[in-house]
Symmetry: C2
Subunit: 192 residues, 2 copies
């Protein structure tokens, strides 16, 4: 729990958080590399905070290709948020890219925790406000930026990603073919 409490303190600036009260809402779980935390077409029953490791969120397109739309490293939250909010089946699979430890919260506990602790409401307002603001930049990058500029910007904003994520998965996330990504990387190494 220590890491989530630390993140709440960091985001809200509030040092006065009773970790014991918050921890009752969570379960700690560990997933192996390539293990699924949530599966497309199944009920979305939990929301995950990454303590250590890395997750990806993907769907399988009509050609059977896995299309990765999001990653979550340490201190990030991940689930199919629409399905989690509505109690419907998930449109996505969430999978561990490395061995990953998460804190898992059910929808019922998420609601209880938010209703009971104003600092948690404040924390999630800030988490979503940031994430929503960042999504506009992502939409701009995906839809309006030449692919090589997009890669350069992505690399400068998230250098940790490029090292940790398998080439094929990263290419899918960026909307590139693996061959095109490999060319870009070679060009980048040369120009350094």
């Amino acid at each position: 729990m220590h890491q989530l409490i630390h993140h709440i303190q960091k985001i809200t600036g509030n040092r006065d958080i009773a970790g014991d009260n918050i921890s009752q809402f969570f379960e700690t779980k560990t997933f192996k590399k390539k293990e699924n935390l949530l599966e497309e077409g199944h009920r979305c029953l939990a929301y995950f905070f990454v303590v250590k490791g890395c997750l990806r969120l993907f769907f399988t397109d009509s050609n059977g290709v896995e299309q990765t739309l999001q990653f979550a490293l340490e201190d990030w939250w991940m689930t199919d948020l629409n399905a989690f909010r509505s109690g419907r089946n998930s449109a996505y699979t969430v999978q561990a890219i490395e061995e990953t430890e998460v804190l898992s919260v059910t929808a019922a506990n998420y609601d209880l925790m938010l209703a009971k602790y104003p600092v948690i409401e404040h924390y999630f307002r800030l988490v979503y406000e940031r994430a929503y603001a960042a999504s506009l930049l992502r939409i701009r990058m995906i839809s309006r930026m030449p692919k090589d500029e997009f890669y350069d910007l992505f690399q400068s904003k998230y250098p940790g990603f490029i090292q940790r994520i398998p080439q094929k998965v990263l290419a899918s996330f960026l909307g590139f073919t693996p061959e095109y990504l490999s060319e870009l990387r070679k060009k980048n190494v040369k120009s350094k």
Copy 2:
């Protein structure tokens, strides 16, 4: 103010909101068609809630073309949220598409209001949670969906938009040429 109070009640389910307390943080402003509420490169000093009308958010690309990334109809919030949060200059222009009435709040008043009224914190947590969840679907549509399917889905989700928004602006938002959009519309009319 009536419309914002109604929206807060609708989103939070809380009927017990003191409109007088909230209204002190806002100014009502009216903008003519094509008037700018916020300009690219200028300080982002306000956040807008649309009471009546329609706004768009765009930037001007290196070819001098206006690229529209977002719209806001009634009950939607709009600003360059990154710039508003940080106090930096805006990367976008916000412009009225029709004559538009907004409630405008400064960053200082936004923070005050959130700190003072837990129901407002709750409201914005839900507004951003929804908006962030919706942004994932938008990213999926933009990056992974054939253009004609994207248009069909957009039309079914937001039928009001298609009528109210100028063709050229809608094409820019969808990432189409105006000619391609015009073809899609003709095809749609025929197939009905």
